[in-house]
């Protein structure tokens, strides 16, 4: 799951899957596959949708759907989460299996990775065990070819009994052929997996009874029989309600099942042992099939990857490289953003003057144009000029790291530290997503299997500043700690300070994770497997286009939609007086004593509260509030902005406290909503709200009061 218009912000909230057919002849196609085999790429190529792709396992955590028109038929493609198995050991596996079983898809495309076909066949075999209507898409054929791996697709198709097509989805190769094959799935005769003798005998007893009861059904009776023997209770009850037949209550089934279980226990197979045997048979079948059809030209086909891995995960170089890369991304963002930021600001404030002139010319009443221009427009201009450039630079860089396949290595490096906090190394991935958008980070937590570790990752995700917050941090750092003169030294110092702030956030993530594991979320670290995918050459142009149009503009759009009305509200608050004070002054005066104790002032705290819908608008609100109370002045540069803040009593203590509070306070409203949706619990939403807020309050209080002792 990456950051896209479909995954960030409000859209991160998953409202469940409703298949939207345009007309009745539309075909529903499920896209299944192991994690990180290019399912999302196949999906995008076919539907033209911008489901985000990246080189790490577990990106797609919700079912995405899109329409593809081929040969005058509408195919509704459903991208289901990547799984290694359909045995429903985790939430994703359950979603995937349930969709294949009960989602009534007309066909299932199982996408495989040609570079490790054997393991992928595991899922293929499990799918053809459920239904006939399967097409196997062996993706990444280009990558396999480069590695000297040859696959006999024709033979594979014969062995499986379902159509097989080789594709290179990144260049669109083979996809048309795949769509053609969808029309022929009706003629499939998939092989059935041969289990050991006792299991086969047990199946032979139960299957005929099931077959007679359910008649013509897309779900194979053999598979239902197997699941009954395996006693998969959750599945059996879903199956029962789907079939309209209580499988466990039916007398004939119960009778045959009883006999079948006797055979199993006579052969000294325990429940656990039965599961082992079933899995082994599937894995061995996959192995046998691959033995004849896959050929490796070179033995060490991924030697280069291993060399890179050795450097990136080395005891001495692993962590420094990680921090250096983080720093580099911020440095490029900071230096790159300066100039366009100034340009945008000049342009937008020039436009402001022209708008005012226009309003005067066409005689718009003064209070109306002041409200609209000095209220709504000005905050908007600030948000655009301060937020857009860093975002437009940060997102492509982030996508680049993601496409390369670096992120799983970060999780690999950090897992030990997370384990010490009794958390999961994959939390590192959700944190990195948090840099883009905390709401997306929260949804990303689904890649963590254990509910306890998932909650820890959700509650602490907000300690990573999202792109709505780090421009705030950059602005304050630049104004107060490095000077605004520009130049290489300045940008390097800014980067360093920002990296320190981020590292503090990461440290807090660890500290709070450990604290939670010791208190309200007690428990041991649980099952952990992490796949390190091969490095892939990123498609630079695609990255830029995708991140600008998909991420940047979307996130900016949301900021604008919230900042304009917020600007209006501030202006009204600042211009309506009760008694001797404006409403704004009443509010900020009320908050002031508390805010002062935290090293800030009432206006800043008010800005954080008003910034609840979107953190991007905190700094603009602060500026608006100061300008509304003082004389209106022009803010052409960060230097003048600094003057404005200093005139309003800002010191370096205020600056640091504001940064600390920005790093550690309540998640924005969309993030809260996402947490509510993901946890289905008011309690955990409240905790996720309170934990960072209380932490921020404590740390700001301590910092401000200790710092004041020294001046």
């Amino acid at each position: 799951m990456g950051l896209t218009a479909n995954s960030t912000g409000l859209n991160a909230v998953d409202f469940g899957l409703v298949i939207k057919k345009i007309n009745d002849n539309d075909k529903v196609i499920a896209l299944a596959g192991n994690p990180n085999v290019g399912k999302s790429t196949v999906f995008n190529e076919l539907t033209g949708l911008k489901q985000h792709t990246g080189n790490w396992a577990g990106k797609t955590v919700t079912n995405a759907q899109g329409v593809c028109n081929y040969n005058n038929t509408n195919y509704i493609l459903v991208d289901i989460p990547g799984t290694y198995s359909l045995m429903a050991h985790s939430a994703e596996e359950e979603v995937a299996r349930d969709f294949i079983c009960f989602g009534n898809p007309d066909a299932v495309i199982v996408v495989c990775d040609a570079t490790c076909l054997e393991r992928n066949l595991n899922l293929v075999l499990q799918t053809i065990e459920i239904t006939d209507n399967v097409v196997v898409c062996v993706n990444l054929m280009d990558e396999a070819k480069n590695k000297g791996i040859e696959i006999d697709l024709k033979e594979l198709s014969i062995k499986l009994g379902v159509p097989v097509v080789g594709t290179s989805a990144r260049s669109g190769k083979g996809l048309n052929e795949m769509m053609n094959m969808l029309e022929t799935v009706g003629n499939n005769h998939p092989i059935s997996i041969k289990y050991i003798k006792s299991i086969e005998e047990a199946i032979a007893l139960v299957e005929p009874v099931i077959k007679e009861k359910i008649g013509d059904c897309t779900i194979h009776s053999r598979w239902i029989a197997l699941k009954l023997i395996d006693y998969d209770t959750a599945l059996i009850s879903s199956l029962s309600s789907y079939l309209g037949l209580d499988l466990l209550e039916d007398n004939e089934i119960a009778k045959s099942l009883h006999k079948a279980r006797e055979i199993i226990s006579q052969n000294n197979i325990t429940d656990e042992g039965l599961k082992d045997k079933i899995v082994s048979c599937i894995v061995l079948t996959a192995e046998e099939i691959c033995m004849d059809i896959v050929r490796f030209d070179r033995k060490c086909y991924n030697a280069n990857d291993r060399k890179i891995d050795k450097i990136l995960t080395n005891k001495w170089t692993g962590f420094p490289i990680m921090i250096a890369l983080l720093g580099l991304v911020f440095w490029i963002t900071i230096t790159g953003a300066n100039y366009p930021s100034a340009l945008l600001s000049d342009g937008l404030f020039w436009l402001e003057d022209r708008l005012v002139e226009l309003c005067i010319l066409i005689r718009v009443p003064k209070f109306i144009y002041e409200m609209l221009i000095f209220g709504a427009y000005r905050v908007l201009a600030w948000v655009v000029s301060v937020m857009l450039p860093p975002m437009a630079i940060f997102f492509p860089l982030f996508t680049l790291l993601e496409d390369l396949g670096y992120l799983p290595r970060v999780a690999f490096n950090l897992d030990k530290s997370f384990k010490k906090c009794c958390a999961c190394g994959k939390q590192a991935l959700t944190m990195v997503m948090g840099f883009g958008c905390n709401a997306a980070g929260i949804v990303g937590c689904r890649i963590i299997d254990s509910p306890r570790e998932r909650l820890i990752a959700m509650i602490t995700n907000n300690f990573v500043p999202c792109n709505g917050r780090f421009p705030t941090l950059i602005a304050i750092i630049t104004m107060f700690f490095v000077g605004t003169t520009g130049g290489l030294v300045q940008s390097l110092v800014s980067t360093m300070l920002l990296t320190v702030v981020i590292l503090l956030g990461i440290f807090m993530t660890f500290a709070i994770s450990a604290l939670l594991s010791k208190t309200i979320l007690k428990g041991e670290a649980s099952a952990f497997t992490l796949e390190l995918p091969p490095y892939r050459k990123p498609k630079i142009l695609e990255i830029i286009v995708r991140s600008v149009f998909d991420r940047t503009l979307f996130v900016l759009g949301r900021a604008i939609a919230i900042s304009a009305p917020a600007g209006l509200v501030i202006w009204i608050l600042a211009n309506i007086s009760i008694g001797n004070y404006t409403l704004l002054a009443h509010c900020s005066n009320f908050l002031n004593p508390f805010a002062q104790a935290l090293g800030m002032d009432g206006v800043i705290l008010l800005a954080f509260i008003l910034g609840f819908p979107a953190n991007e608008i905190v700094i603009p609100i602060i500026i608006m509030s100061y300008m509304a109370t003082g004389s209106i002045m022009k803010l052409d540069s960060l230097f003048e902005l600094r003057q404005l803040l200093v005139n309003n009593g800002w010191t370096w203590i205020t600056a640091i406290s504001t940064m600390l509070f920005s790093l550690m306070h309540f998640p924005c409203s969309t993030t809260c909503l996402t947490i509510k949706k993901e946890t289905q619990s008011n309690k955990w939403t409240a905790i996720s709200f309170l934990v960072p807020t209380v932490t921020g309050i404590i740390i700001c209080f301590l910092f401000a009061n200790i710092a004041r002792l020294f001046i």
Binding site: Y84, S85, M87, H89, T115, C116, L117, E118, R119, N122, E272, K275, D276, V279, S280, V283, L284, A286, E287, D305, R306, D309, K310, T313, N314, K315, G318, F319, F412, N413, D415, K416, S417, K419, G425, D449, A525, S526, A527, F528, T529, L530, E531, L532, P533
Partner: protein
């Protein structure tokens, strides 16, 4: 032939071994089976993380990192 049984964590980088017995239980047992690690599977130790835990192994063509507390319970024949 000189065959000895040890745990997966004892493998040095570059060493290959065959799984002898899975002593894992519960969800971790099922998880490693899903990625194709069953008795008889060939495994190569490919990469250690900076702290020496987790360690990444090549399992059926894919690189999978496992925590030492888990791989300790996977017995292999070198």
């Amino acid at each position: 032939m000189n065959k000895s049984v040890c745990s997966l964590t004892d493998l040095k980088i570059g060493e290959t071994a065959r799984v002898n017995k899975l002593s894992l239980t519960g969800s971790m047992r099922r998880r490693v089976q899903d990625i194709g690690l069953i008795e008889g599977t060939e495994v190569e130790c490919v990469l250690k993380s900076p702290g020496g835990d987790p360690i990444a192994y090549q399992i059926r063509g894919a690189i999978i990192a496992l925590r030492n507390e888990d791989s300790l319970n996977i017995l292999v024949t070198v």
